[in-house]
C-alpha cells in the first residue's frame, strides 16, 4: 500500500518528459544546452535575467530540481559561490558533485579576463578566477559548446550523434553570426562607456569598447553618492558615450548620472531573456549590438 502511494506521488510529481535532465545555473547555459540538445534534453533554468546571479538563494525549489538533475551546467569562477555549494550539498545528488561527469563549469573553458593580481576584499568582491560574466563574448560560447556537446554525448551515449550534429550546426551558424556582428559593431570600436558592475568586460573586450569606469566603487559595493559625483566630471572629461546596466541592476545610479551628464543610459539584455528580442543566444547579441548602436551617435 505504502509503495503504491509512493508510486502515485512520484508519478504525479515527476515530469513525464524523459530527456536528459539538465540543471542550468544561468539562462545562457540553459539556452546553449537547448541549442545542443534539442528535444533530447529537459533543461531547467535555475535563474532568469532579472536576477543577479551573485545573489541567488538556495531556495527549496532549486534543491528539489538539483536533486534529480543528471547534468549541472554553471558558469563557475566563483559566480555562484553564495548559493551553489549549499544547493549541491543539500541535493543529495552524487551525479552532479564537482569532479563528476554531471558537473560542468563553463568558465574553465575560456580565457578569463581581469584575473586579479592580488586577492583583497578591500578591493571589493573580487573573484580570484577572474571576471565570471563570460557569456557576452560569443567566441566564448563557441569554446564552451564543443565540450558541452561532448559531455551531453557522454552522459547520453545513445544520442551522442545527435548532440554532435547539433553542435556542428550551432557552431557554423554562430561563426557566421559572429562575422556579421563584428561587422555591424565595427563603428563602436574605441567608444568609451561606463557600466554599473563589471558585467560587460567580455563584450567590451570583443567589440573593442573602452570601460571608462563603473558605477560601483568596487565590485559588489553599492554605488554611493560620493563616487557618482566623481564620475560626473570623469564621464565628461573622457567623452563617455554610454552608461550601461543589466536588467537586474537598479536603474537609479545610472539614471542619476545620465541626468547630470546627458549621456544616455542603456539597458543591455545581459543574458537570454533579458529583453523581448533576446530569446535565444543569437537574439541576445542581435539585440545587444542594436541597442549599443542605436544610442551611439
Amino acid at each position: 500500500m505504502k509503495r503504491f502511494i509512493l508510486a502515485c506521488l512520484l508519478a504525479a510529481a515527476l515530469p513525464v518528459h524523459a530527456g536528459l535532465r539538465v540543471f542550468a545555473c544561468e539562462p545562457e547555459w540553459a539556452a546553449l544546452a537547448k541549442q545542443l540538445g534539442g528535444d533530447k534534453v529537459d533543461v531547467y533554468e535555475a535563474t532568469h535575467a532579472l536576477q543577479d546571479p551573485h545573489r541567488i538563494e538556495a531556495r527549496p525549489s532549486l534543491i528539489a530540481r538539483a536533486r534529480s538533475a543528471q547534468l549541472l551546467v554553471c558558469t563557475g569562477a566563483e559566480l555562484e559561490a553564495g548559493w551553489l555549494p549549499t544547493l549541491l550539498r543539500e541535493s543529495g545528488n552524487a551525479a552532479i558533485q564537482p569532479g563528476r561527469p554531471g558537473f560542468f563549469e563553463a568558465a574553465q573553458l575560456v580565457s578569463r579576463l581581469e584575473i586579479p593580481a592580488r586577492i583583497d576584499r578591500g578591493e571589493g568582491d573580487v573573484h580570484a578566477s577572474g571576471n565570471p560574466h563570460i557569456q557576452l563574448d560569443p567566441r566564448n560560447l563557441l569554446a564552451v559548446a564543443g565540450p558541452l556537446a561532448k559531455r551531453l554525448g557522454e552522459l547520453d551515449a545513445a544520442n551522442a550523434g545527435h548532440y554532435a550534429e547539433r553542435h556542428q550546426a550551432f557552431s557554423d551558424r554562430m561563426r557566421a553570426a559572429i562575422a556579421r556582428w563584428e561587422l555591424e559593431a565595427a563603428p563602436l570600436k574605441g567608444a568609451r562607456v561606463i557600466a554599473q558592475h563589471k558585467s560587460f568586460g567580455y563584450l567590451f573586450h570583443w567589440l573593442g569598447l573602452v570601460e571608462a569606469g563603473t558605477l560601483e566603487p568596487a565590485p559588489g559595493i553599492e554605488p554611493g553618492s560620493a563616487h557618482l559625483a566623481q564620475l560626473v566630471a570623469q564621464a565628461k572629461a573622457q567623452q563617455v558615450r554610454l552608461i550601461l546596466r543589466t536588467p537586474y541592476d537598479s536603474p537609479r545610479p545610472g539614471g542619476w548620472l545620465s541626468e547630470r551628464t546627458g549621456i544616455p543610459l542603456v539597458t543591455l539584455p545581459f543574458t537570454v531573456g533579458g529583453s523581448a528580442r533576446a530569446q535565444d543566444l543569437f537574439g541576445l547579441f542581435d539585440d545587444t549590438i542594436a541597442r549599443l548602436k542605436e544610442r551611439t551617435p
Binding site: 510529481a13 532568469h48 538563494e57 534543491i63 528539489a64 559561490a81 553564495g82 550539498r89 574553465q108 584575473i115
Partner: protein
C-alpha cells in the same frame, strides 16, 4: 630544427655546381628567394607561438577541465566571523525566563551589560574527496574554544540521501541550524532560549532524504548522544536523543518562495540541574533542583520570502514563524549542603509533569539596498505543571520563577545596515517581559564581520 633542415635542403640543392653559369645564377637566386620567404614564415610562426604562450601565462587558471570545481576558491575554505556588541540592560541578578526550567545548555552568554566581545567563529571546511565533505566551526571566546560543529557529510550516496556524522546543529525547526551570525536579530528568540539555551547540537548521526519531486520534500532522522539541554549526559551505550523532521517548500510565481516544516525531538534527562530557593526557616538558601525524566519537543516552522522578480538585491521581505510544544514527565528532587535546608543530602519531591508552548513570529524587510528593518514578537505559555504542591512547597519556595504563572512576552525592533554580505551593523530595541516581575527595555548595538571564504547560506 626546421631551419637546419631547410639549410640542409638548400645546400643539397646548391651542390651540383656542374651546371652552366647562367643556370647556376638563376638557381642561386631562386634558392635565395626561397630561403628568404621560408625564414619570414618561420619568424612569423615563432612570433605567434611566443605571443600564444604569453597569453596563456596571463590567463593561467585555465586547465580546460570543466569538471574541476572552484565553488569555494580556496581549499580548504576558511572563514572567520567577528562579532561584538554593546548592550544596555536592567540589572537583574539571575536572568531566567519565568515559568521555565533554565537551560544550562548551549549559550554564549549574551546577558552581559555594556561593551562585550561576542564569540568569534572560525569555520574551516573542504571536500575530503569526491565522497565526503568535512566542516569545523569553533566558537572562540576568552580562554575557551567551544566546538560548535565538527562533522563529515556524504556527497556520494546519491538517490537524495545525505549522511552526516559528528557534532552538528540539529535539523529540527528553522532557526536551529543557523549560526548566530546568520540571524536577523541580535539575540535568539525566547523560544530557542527556553528550548535549548540557544541551539540544539547533536553528537551523532543524521540521515536526510530529498524526494525526487518538483515540490521540495525533505525528511530527516537523527540519533545522538543527547547530552545537551533538555537532556543530560547519561553515560549509556544506547543513543540519548532522537529527532525526526520533515520540510516541504517551493516557489509561488517568480517572486515568492516558502518552506514549512514539522520536527520532533525526544531525549531524557538525569538529575538536570537548576537553581531554586528553599523554604529554610533560617533564611532561603540557593539549592539545586533536579529533574530526571523524559522530554519531548515538537516544533512547527514556516518561512515565506518575497523579492520582486526573485531579485532580493533591492527590496525583499522575509516572514518567519516557529511554534513549539514541549512535554516533560519525570521526578523532581532537590539537594543542598546547608545543614538547615530541607533539601540537605537530597530530597525526592515526587512526580513532575509539564507541558509548555510558545513561539515567535518575525518580519524583516529590506526597503533599500543595504538597509533592513525588522520586528519580532516572542511569546511563551508556561502551561500546565502537575506536581504535588504539599511535597514540593515544603522544600521549595513557591516564589521561585519556575512556578510563576506569568506569560513571558517580548517585542523586538531591529534595523541593520550591510555594506555588502560581508559586513553588518545592527541596532536593536527590545521590550522584554520574560522575567518574573521585570520589564526590561533593552538596547543592543552589534557588528558582524566575515573574513575569508564566501559562506553560502541556506534558505
Amino acid at each position: 630544427m626546421q631551419r637546419i633542415a631547410l639549410m640542409a635542403v638548400a645546400t643539397a640543392l646548391a651542390l651540383p655546381a656542374a651546371a652552366g653559369d647562367g643556370e647556376l645564377k638563376a638557381l642561386r637566386e631562386e634558392i635565395a628567394q626561397m630561403k628568404k620567404s621560408y625564414e619570414q614564415r618561420i619568424e612569423s610562426l615563432e612570433q605567434r607561438l611566443a605571443s600564444g604562450t604569453e597569453k596563456e601565462k596571463s590567463q593561467s587558471p585555465q586547465d580546460g577541465d570543466p569538471r574541476a570545481g572552484t565553488a569555494g576558491g580556496f581549499n580548504p575554505e576558511v572563514s572567520l566571523i567577528l562579532q561584538g556588541r554593546y548592550r544596555r540592560l536592567k540589572e537583574v541578578p539571575e536572568r531566567s525566563i519565568a515559568g521555565t526550567w533554565p537551560a544550562g545548555g548551549h549559550t554564549h552568554g549574551g546577558d552581559e551589560r555594556g561593551f562585550t566581545l561576542d564569540h568569534s567563529e572560525l569555520i574551516v571546511s573542504a571536500n575530503v574527496n569526491p565522497y565526503f565533505r568535512g566542516l569545523m566551526n569553533v566558537a572562540l571566546k576568552d580562554g575557551e574554544a567551544e566546538v560548535e560543529e565538527v562533522y563529515f557529510q556524504t556527497l556520494g550516496l546519491g538517490q537524495g540521501f545525505t549522511l552526516k556524522g559528528g557534532r552538528f546543529l540539529s535539523g529540527i525547526g528553522y532557526l536551529n541550524e543557523r549560526h548566530s551570525h546568520a540571524w536577523d536579530f541580535a539575540d535568539a528568540p525566547l523560544m530557542m532560549k527556553v528550548l535549548f539555551g540557544e541551539h540544539y547540537g547533536q553528537d551523532g548521526l543524521q540521515l536526510k532524504w530529498v524526494a525526487p519531486t518538483e515540490l521540495f520534500m525533505e525528511f530527516g532522522a537523527e540519533l545522538g548522544r543527547g547530552a545537551g539541554f533538555p537532556g543530560t549526559d547519561r553515560n549509556k551505550n544506547s543513543p540519548g536523543a532522537g529527532a525526526l523532521f520533515a520540510h516541504v517548500g517551493g516557489d509561488v510565481g517568480r517572486s515568492h518562495a516558502w518552506r514549512a516544516g514539522l520536527s520532533w525531538l525526544t531525549t531524557r534527562a538525569r538529575q538536570r540541574e537548576a537553581h531554586f530557593e528553599d523554604t529554610d526557616a533560617a533564611g532561603p538558601n540557593e539549592v539545586e533542583g533536579r529533574f530526571t525524566g523524559r522530554s519531548r519537543t515538537r516544533i512547527a516552522d514556516f518561512v515565506w520570502k518575497w523579492a520582486p522578480d526573485g531579485n532580493p538585491r533591492e527590496r525583499n521581505l522575509k516572514l518567519q514563524a516557529e511554534l513549539f510544544r514541549r512535554t516533560e514527565s519525570g521526578d523532581l528532587a532537590c539537594a543542598s549542603d546547608v545543614a538547615t535546608s530541607p533539601c540537605l543530602g537530597g530530597l525526592g519531591l515526587g512526580n513532575l509533569r509539564s507541558a509548555q508552548s510558545g513561539g515567535y513570529a518575525q518580519a524583516v524587510w529590506q526597503f533599500l539596498p543595504r538597509w533592513r528593518v525588522g520586528y519580532r514578537f516572542d511569546w511563551l505559555n508556561a502551561g500546565a505543571k502537575r506536581y504535588d504542591p504539599v511535597a514540593v512547597f515544603a522544600a521549595l519556595d513557591p516564589a521561585n520563577a519556575y512556578f510563576a504563572r506569568q506569560r513571558p512576552q517580548r517585542h523586538t525592533l531591529m534595523a541593520d545596515w550591510s555594506q555588502d554580505e560581508f559586513s553588518r551593523l545592527r541596532l536593536q530595541f527590545a521590550r522584554d517581559r520574560s522575567m518574573q516581575g521585570v520589564s526590561d527595555n533593552q538596547v543592543t548595538l552589534q557588528y558582524i564581520m566575515s573574513l575569508g571564504a564566501h559562506g553560502a547560506h541556506k534558505f
